[in-house]
Symmetry: C2
Subunit: 137 residues, 2 copies
DNA sequence: GTAACTGCAAAATATTTGCATCCTT
DNA sequence: AAGGATGCAAATATTTTGCAGTTAC
């Protein structure tokens, strides 16, 4: 079974053209996507509102996660195996390349634990590293 | 000399009521502020546009820095001593409290270095920790 | 006096909601 | 057939820009 199809089934979502296509974009791409990227790559095949709703649905189901950014954009990337609905485990480092502008999930680089001041209880952490990626050197 | 005034002078910015007031908000507050917070706390004393422009000016001068967030909001906090125009050194951890919603700069907690995959050259890093802060326990 | 800052209006952009229609199961 | 997903229109929210008037130096 195709991977996009199987992801939808597994999450008991209706299989629609838009969802399959948007999932494909994430699957065939190693870096994160913004809403605008998706509109661009689907070239108006789907309504802007549908894209918003599809992304929200995927986040709710734990299929994709949002990546913290310093500007006011929202970036999304595929969750790996250990995410589930309502329970993200997005504890890998995100790398933003100042060359090509891509945001890449470094799935193998975990966010290190830090020692917090007295009284602070951590639950989840995120880390973003800026720099130059392996393709832009 | 008052602290807000001295910061403006040091950065060769004109001293205006709006800038003094907005700087005060940052100075008297340990947590980060969003544009909306500032509008709220100044209660319409200044035009919305002025707030946008003031914040942008402060970021450009290295007086405040933007904090990465997972949603599409932009948060600002005061830079400490080692920031300068066009050259932020915002390498401390930010803590977002799931209780009160505040974002707090943990100025004493540095972002740890991580080992990146071959070919990736880091420049700057940011880290966000979610959890419960010392006041919300 | 001059350059910089502000407020207002308006444009541009981004996001959300309601509802009727269509598609998936 | 029923529930869910989509498209369209419109409401709402956010951010940017131009310009004329005002203020700081």
């Amino acid at each position: 079974m195709e991977q996009n199809l199987s992801i939808l089934k597994k999450n008991s979502l209706s299989v629609t053209e838009g969802r399959l296509k948007i999932l494909d974009l994430f699957l065939e791409q190693e870096d994160a996507l913004a809403h605008a990227d998706i509109e661009l790559k689907t070239a108006g095949a789907f309504d802007r509102v549908t894209v918003y709703r599809t992304l929200q649905t995927f986040v709710d189901k734990g299929i994709i996660h949002q990546i913290p950014t310093i500007d006011n954009t929202v970036l999304y990337a595929l969750c790996k195996d250990n995410c589930a609905a309502g329970h993200h485990h997005d504890e890998h480092v995100h790398f933003v390349c100042d060359g090509c502008g891509k945001t890449i999930c470094l799935d193998d680089v975990m966010v290190p634990k830090v020692k917090l001041p007295k009284g602070f209880k951590p639950s989840e952490s995120a880390m973003i590293v800026h720099g130059i990626c392996n393709e832009c050197r």
